[in-house]
């Protein structure tokens, strides 16, 4: 596996994992509404 392949894979996968984790962190722990409440 080339270094470039490793870089592209590492950056791409890390980016989507980080974005997803950040979004769920915001939704679950930071949001003024949180998740799981009966908001409607």
């Amino acid at each position: 596996m080339t270094l470039a392949a490793m870089l592209f894979m590492g950056i791409s996968v890390s980016a989507v994992v980080a974005l997803t984790a950040w979004c769920y962190y915001r939704v679950l722990f930071v949001s003024r509404r949180g998740a799981g409440r009966d908001e409607n």
């Binding site: 596996m1 080339t2 470039a4 392949a5 490793m6 870089l7 592209f8 894979m9 791409s12 996968v13 980016a15 989507v16 994992v17 974005l19 997803t20 979004c23 769920y24 915001r26 939704v27 679950l28 949001s31 003024r32 509404r33 949180g34 998740a35 799981g36 409440r37 009966d38 908001e39 409607n40």
Partner: protein
């Protein structure tokens, strides 16, 4: 229409997380695991991710946010269907009738998508009960041939009239099971059915994918006699960048198309789902979270599993020869991989259960927009609308099931409705949002209750960049595909193409008629369907039902 007395739709999402998972479930489908890696490997490998993420930022996120905003705004006015909501944003009858395409897409795509879903269930059952008959001792070419034969048998691709072939074909049984599951969850309703199912199905799908991912990444070099076939070579095949591909327009076109179809924008689902939100519910973070979930499944799981496993067991040449399309990758190449993998039946069962969950969470979302439309436009009860949608879908499914030879009918519906019309619906939506309703008013509505700040440059993005980007990829799609499609359709001479067209035109006629009926009902109920600024009705029981 003097006395309009239909019950206003009072369904609501139970929780925010449930909504996110339901939208993510709609977006995550077979394409995440089967189409994305093939597209990436054929169009620059790792370099493909550059235009892919640019399209995510410039096309996927803004159009998605616009669609969520339109839906929530419509829901506040007691409207839950694409024709009514798009008519509201497009300020008139033209947009409303064009908006009926937003019901056409999920409804007609369901006609064939549930078949693909039932194949996944059939393959899962095959692996769970001892395999699908691909002999591990045969050479790769013979295994691929056996796998293709099994696929043709499962799908009825060898001949038309599967239903009348004598006896009850297994495809029919798995279709009935799949259809019944879909109908049951639709009948259970938005929160108790779709949301409840997605709340456990999405985590279960992630667990299945992680099990397969760990297995694939720990394969090493399974056959010491073939040292070139290993995990690193598989990952390299998928991710090694070919920078020259970035200079090819086709790469940008494929990347934008992949993002566009993967996120389910223009599909008519998000506009309906978000109409069940309340006026101050956040849509910006919620939409981004659902999109991020889709990207996680696509890039972090789909991009790591499928081609890596194929190269490790089949080698580069056989992988390139057998992983060109979604079906060839998922149902021809991967069964050969599982035949060669230790404990392959177990991992095959897990893999196809994961694909089945990905498919059913998508198909469920295709039924709800049509149900909401019939309920709203015809004044049907929840049960009545469910039965009507089920009846129409049974007719559509039987058509696809009957004309199964070469999967021509399915392919025709997929090309025109599952691809071509989606571009049009997305285009109508973004034009209505940014140009007819007004991008500033639209952004004001989007910002209501937002838990993320929308950058100022998104105004420019929504008004100019996203519509232009969409137009370019639509023209590119038509240029690349339509002449070739007509040539092959004429050359095949298969009447199923004509019949599929009749199904599409019949569906359009039905939806336009229902939109006309709905228009009279909505006007009689005093609803502001032309976006002229009438007072917003309070939720709950209203004149409309």
């Amino acid at each position: 229409m003097g006395n309009v007395s239909v019950e206003r739709q009072t369904q609501r999402w139970g929780t925010r997380l449930g909504l996110i998972l339901a939208v993510a479930g709609s977006a995550v489908g077979l394409g995440n695991f089967l189409r994305f890696p093939g597209n990436a490997a054929e169009n620059g490998g790792g370099a493909f991710l550059i235009p892919y993420f640019i399209a995510f930022l410039l096309l996927g996120i803004p159009i998605g946010w616009a669609e969520w905003t339109m839906g929530r705004y419509g829901g506040r006015r007691g409207l839950h269907s694409a024709p009514a909501i798009i008519g509201l944003w497009g300020k008139g009858a033209t947009a409303r009738y064009l908006g009926s395409l937003g019901v056409l897409v999920p409804l007609v795509v369901y006609f064939y998508y549930v078949m693909i879903e039932s194949w996944c269930l059939s393959y899962f059952w095959g692996y769970a009960t001892g395999g699908i008959g691909v002999d591990e001792s045969l050479p790769v070419a013979a295994q691929v041939a056996a796998s293709q034969a099994h696929f043709a048998e499962t799908t009825g691709a060898n001949f038309n009239g599967l239903l009348a072939a004598g006896g009850l074909h297994s495809s029919v049984i798995f279709w009935l099971i799949t259809f019944a599951l879909n109908a049951w969850f639709l009948y259970r309703g938005l929160s108790r059915g779709i949301e409840t199912f997605c709340r456990w199905a999405i985590p279960a799908m992630a667990v299945c994918a992680l099990i397969v991912l760990v297995r694939v990444l720990t394969l090493g070099t399974p056959d010491p006699a073939l040292p070139d076939q290993n995990v690193a070579a598989g990952l390299n095949f998928m991710w090694n960048p070919d920078y020259a591909a970035l200079g090819n327009f086709q790469t940008w076109l494929v990347a934008a198309g992949q993002i566009f179809f993967s996120l389910s924008v223009g599909f008519g689902v998000i506009i309906n789902y978000s109409s069940y939100l309340q006026k101050d519910d956040d849509i910006v973070l919620t939409s981004l979270t659902a999109s991020a979930t889709n990207e996680f499944f696509e890039v972090a799981l789909g991009g790591m599993i499928t081609l890596t496993a194929a190269v490790t067991f089949l080698g580069l040449a056989a992988t390139q020869a057998n992983t060109g399309g979604t079906f060839s990758t998922g149902f021809a190449a991967l069964p050969v991989v599982f035949a060669r993998m230790p404990a392959g039946d177990f991992f095959g069962a897990v893999w196809f259960m994961m694909l089945f969950l990905a498919a059913i969470t998508s198909s469920l979302s295709m039924l709800q927009p049509a149900k909401a439309f019939f309920q709203e436009a015809l004044g049907l009860t929840h049960r009545g609308a469910t039965l009507l949608v089920a009846g129409i879908c049974i007719a559509g499914n039987l058509f696809v099931l009957w004309f199964s030879k070469g999967l021509v009918a399915m392919d025709t519906l997929d090309f025109w409705v599952g691809n071509f019309v989606i571009f049009i619906v997305a285009g109508i939506q973004i034009v209505c949002f940014s140009w007819v309703f007004g991008v500033d008013q639209g952004l004001d509505e989007m910002r209501r209750g937002a838990e993320l700040r929308i950058p100022r440059w998104f105004r420019f993005l929504l008004k100019y960049v996203a519509p232009a980007y969409l137009l370019v990829i639509f023209v590119g799609f038509c240029w690349n595909n339509i002449p070739q499609y007509f040539r092959s359709a004429v050359a095949s001479g298969d009447p199923a193409v004509l019949y599929a067209w009749l199904v599409i035109l019949g569906s359009i006629a039905l939806l336009l008629t229902v939109t006309a009926i709905g228009t009279r009902r909505w006007r009689a109920a005093g609803l502001d369907i032309d976006g002229k600024g009438a007072a917003i009705r309070p939720p709950g029981k209203g004149a409309l039902t």
